[in-house]
């Protein structure tokens, strides 16, 4: 199995498997698909990856904390609809829209975290509930696209600075901050402790509830900021904009080597997985593979990656 060989070769160099897979897929795509190599296309890949990247970074915090957040897709959709309705194409409303996006994202995330601590129900069930509520709110608000993104928001999503996509800069900054937060701060340390064994963390004096709450706030923020990029890309408040984002984000986090059981994970891994998914979908698009077959391919990637990860974990034990 080539993937396995790549993985073991990567391990020899101390690289996590997902980075090696990403590298292999980029090199393979560049070698075999000429259209992939163009600067324009590479820019497209990165632009498309950025929104999912932000959502997946937020999801990484939640999953490292031993939780899960299914509500991010619909949260992103709701935010897209509301900020587009607010902007309606006006430049001067860009800043209020950005604040609104961060505000909704953070507030819904905070509500999720607060309810989790209050009700003590399984996070999968809780956020499934909020997913359903948010979806209902979106479609009770509108069943068609409303409003329009301002030129500035469109620039954030599609623009380039000296050839570098702005969205990539946004993603890189967010990833850098998130990486520091997860690895270099007391919060990150506490989050990993809570995800690894909540009871032990509690006994060690970690404020478990507050840490979990903060993880959900970060996840909500990721969805809110991702919504800005999605709004800029589609240009209007499309109510279905967030469909499937939650599952893609979870897939990326898991592919990136973060354990669904919690306790460990890496932003760099998540980022690599997001890029891998973007490269795969881009290459399949260039090869004019139907979207159905792409879905099939994505499913296979998930299944194979999960099985490989399982093997790795067993060997590590």
């Amino acid at each position: 199995m080539p993937a396995r060989r790549v993985a073991s070769a990567a391990n020899a160099f101390g690289l996590p498997a997902i980075h090696a897979l990403l590298l292999a897929s980029v090199v393979g795509a560049a070698a075999t698909v000429p259209a992939f190599r163009t600067i324009d296309n590479l820019g497209n890949v990165l632009t498309q990856a950025a929104a999912l990247g932000l959502v997946a970074i937020g999801q990484t915090f939640v999953i490292v904390g031993g939780l899960i957040d299914l509500s991010v897709g619909q949260l992103l959709g709701l935010t897209v609809v509301l900020i587009c309705a607010l902007m309606d194409g006006h430049s001067e409303r860009t800043v209020p829209a950005l604040l609104l996006a961060a505000g909704i994202g953070g507030a819904i995330g905070a509500a999720n975290g607060w309810l989790l601590n209050l009700l003590r129900i399984h996070p999968l069930i809780l956020t499934f509930g909020t997913l359903s509520i948010l979806q209902g709110v979106i479609f009770a608000t509108t069943d068609r696209s409303i409003g329009a993104a301002s030129p500035e928001v469109a620039w954030l999503a599609n623009g380039r600075i000296a050839g570098v996509p702005v969205a990539l800069v946004v993603l890189a900054l967010a990833a850098f901050g998130a990486h520091r937060l997860l690895t270099r701060t007391r919060f990150g340390q506490h989050l990993r402790a809570v995800g690894g064994h909540a009871e032990n963390a509690r006994r060690a004096g970690v404020a478990v509830d507050r840490v979990r709450w903060a993880a959900f706030v970060l996840s909500g923020l990721g969805a809110g900021l991702g919504a800005v990029l999605v709004a800029g890309r589609i240009g209007s408040g499309y109510p279905n904009a967030g469909q499937g984002f939650e599952l893609d984000a979870i897939v990326a986090v898991v592919l990136g080597g973060t354990s669904l059981a919690g306790g460990r994970g890496s932003i760099a891994g998540t980022l690599a997985a997001v890029l891998l998914l973007a490269v795969a979908s881009n290459v399949l698009n260039l090869l004019e593979v139907s979207s159905f077959a792409q879905m099939f391919a994505k499913g296979l990637i998930v299944v194979v990656a999960v099985l490989l990860a399982q093997r790795r974990e067993r060997f590590a034990r």
Binding site: I125, F128, I133, S290, V306
Partner: protein, 326 residues
Amino acid sequence: MTAPTVAVASRRRSVPSLRLAPKYAIWGVLVVLLGIAALLSDAFLEPVYLANVVRQAAPVGIAALGATVVMILGGVDLSVGAVVSFAAVFAAIQMGGRADNIGVAVVSTLAACTLIGLANGALIAWNRASSFILTLGTSLVIYGLTQVYSGGTARGIVAPGFREFFNFRLADVVPVIAVALVVLAVIVEGLLRLTRFGRTVYLIGSNAGAARIAGLSLTRTTLAAYAISGLFAGMAGLALLARSGVSTTTSGRGFELDTLAAIVLGGTVFEGGRGSAAATVAGVLVLFVAFNIVNILGLNFNLQLVVKGLIVIVASAIYFRLDRDR
């Protein structure tokens, strides 16, 4: 010697009532909702209307019955929606609009869906992979395959007689499809309560380690549970086809979450080891009665989603309280 015995005995006497509370709470909720619905609309409690609610609930209910077995085992099957879609499309194409194809179409559809479930079970049993992420992956694979198979359009044609049979009203009241839900619920409940397989499912769900030490086969039980979930998702697909007559490749989208909602409403917990088929049916009915109340009130149809989310969260919270106090 006597004092502790009395204490134990009295505790024993008090425990069952508390333990039964969450088990039957969902039926209480159902009765309350039916009462509210009856207050809002005179027509609601008429047999035909009630039978219609059960008919509406049948596809989700049938899928939820199979998924309940997996949940009790301590897993989760998120491929249900994909399998339901696959079954509807596959059966319609196999029928090709001809009545004499019905038998072959039904049998081959159910066989294919059971195989899909078996494949899920095999991947999970032999790799100890997380069922959540794994069935998420297989659901994408199945959606993709279904679309490639059908060319992305509603290609098949439902055979004449198929829909008529399932929607036929016994005694002019109860549609066959509603009866099917009840019969299947009885079968699953029996399977869980009365068979060795059923007891093994509960045991593994509550303590997999102990079950393994006791010599129970985790692999075989896991395979069987996911195969049952696949089979029931297949039957749900047929029920959906019979109810709506539509075989689009995404007809089952959202089923995985609706079944999850129903199962959780029924008191089955994520950790496994607890739950019942009857409670799952009650959970499905609660969902659909609630949806009907939203309609009766003349509220925006989409508020059904808000109601669904709220009931799921509130019910889970109540179960958690009842559980902790026990």
